[in-house]
């Protein structure tokens, strides 16, 4: 593209807008046909659909193992995936600051196209708005997603019962630590990349086993603790987690020890929590472990009862404590 930076003129709907659309977006998302209409016109698939939207802000925009584009696609694909859907279509809305380097925009859009391809998802509609410099930290992306819930495969949280296994698909907190390090504010350095990735290819393997999956959630903001508390409360389940069984990378533990953080509240962007019928847990675990993303999957606990929803963490000494939602935000502490 001829311009080096995005300008307010790119948002005026004229020739420059057209060029930005053609050269940056349409060529990469491959939605030339759909873009001739004001809305993408799509065949209605059989079964129910799942629909979700999410707006992504990431500071900095480029993190080891992740950029805002990759995150925006993976995040929405993952929300569809853990809702039991096969992700099909995404839309992408961009708010871009004047002066934003086109080169960086291209990198972001390339990452989106590549991430969408992993799950066989098409980005079929988009929008671009340009705002004044210094107002939004570069770029903000909204993605909405449509997925199909096949009738023969659905989640059944109502069937959750004592003995069901709680599985996490890999070590938690990598994304939060990679972002913390990239921000440089608290002086923490690490080579650990973000775990940001689309979960659909991995979950597809799990679905192929035919295992009875009660429920899935991706432990993003608020971390594993929050995801579990929400499941427990929403479905009236008592969940017991074995502290020692929760996979955490040493680099994440190191950062937590330095700053006094709790890794249970650290976001992951490429992990799933699965509640699975007791008898099916071994084959789900095996299917997960056969994938690159899930090779460190582990059973971390069980459903121990129904009723008042709560999460208990069992320590190595056998004592139990209640896990709560994150109170406010995590702050580095000396005490």
């Amino acid at each position: 593209m001829s311009s080096q930076q995005v300008s307010l003129e790119h948002g005026e709907g004229g020739e420059l807008s057209h060029k930005l659309l053609r050269e940056v977006f349409v060529s990469r998302f491959g939605h030339a046909e759909e873009s001739k209409w004001d809305a993408a016109r799509l065949a209605v698939p059989e079964g129910r659909i799942a629909l979700t939207t999410d707006t992504f802000t990431l500071q900095p925009l480029f993190v080891n193992g992740c950029n805002i584009g990759k995150l925006a696609v993976a995040g929405t694909v993952n929300d569809l995936t853990v809702s039991g859907a096969v992700p099909r279509y995404l839309t992408a809305g961009f708010v871009i600051e004047e002066g934003f380097p086109v080169r960086d925009l291209v990198t972001i859009v390339d990452a989106m196209a590549a991430e969408a391809q992993k799950s066989g998802v098409r980005i079929v509609a988009g929008d671009t708005k340009i705002v004044k410099r210094g107002t939004i930290g570069g770029v903000i992306i909204n993605t909405a997603g449509v997925g199909v819930i096949p009738p023969e495969f659905d989640l059944h949280p109502e069937a959750m019962r004592e003995g069901d296994a709680v599985i996490v698909s890999g070590p938690i907190g990598d994304h939060a630590v990679a972002v913390l390090a990239a921000r440089g504010e608290l002086g923490v350095m690490t080579d650990l990349p973000s775990d940001c990735t689309s979960l659909y290819p991995m979950i597809r393997r799990v679905r192929e086993t035919g295992a009875a999956i009660r429920f899935m959630r991706d432990p993003t903001r608020g971390g594993l603790a929050t995801a579990l508390v929400e499941i427990a409360e929403d479905f009236g389940a008592e969940i017991e987690i074995e502290q020692e069984a929760v996979p955490i990378r040493p680099e994440v533990e190191g950062v937590c020890e330095i700053l006094g953080y709790d890794p249970l509240y650290f976001a992951s962007e490429g992990k799933a929590v699965l509640i699975v019928a007791e008898a099916d847990a071994p084959r789900v675990l095996q299917a997960l472990r056969e994938t690159e993303e899930g090779k460190e999957a582990a059973v971390i606990g069980r459903i121990v009862g129904r009723g008042e929803g709560k999460v208990l963490l069992k320590s190595a000494l056998g004592s139990r404590r209640r896990v709560l939602r994150l109170q406010g935000m995590q702050l580095p502490r000396i005490c």
Binding site: M189, T190, E251, G254, I334, C335
Partner: protein, 82 residues
Amino acid sequence: MCVGVPGKVIERDEYTAIVEVMGSRMKVGIILVPDVQVGDYVLVHAGKALQIVDEEYARASVEAWALIGELREQGVLEESDR
């Protein structure tokens, strides 16, 4: 009172050192441990190395605790041994 964590010194200059804690790193001040060497472990609190960790004592402590743990009646197989 005070969160403190042991980390290994992997670089040092006059006033600061890079300390590795389980694979993540942090720059810390070494004004309180002027004799610290690369390879030493230090206890870090609020961005400063507070003390050099003594290897001999650390090992001796662990051995002493293991002895306490073994004071159980002989011949009783513990859960963790099975």
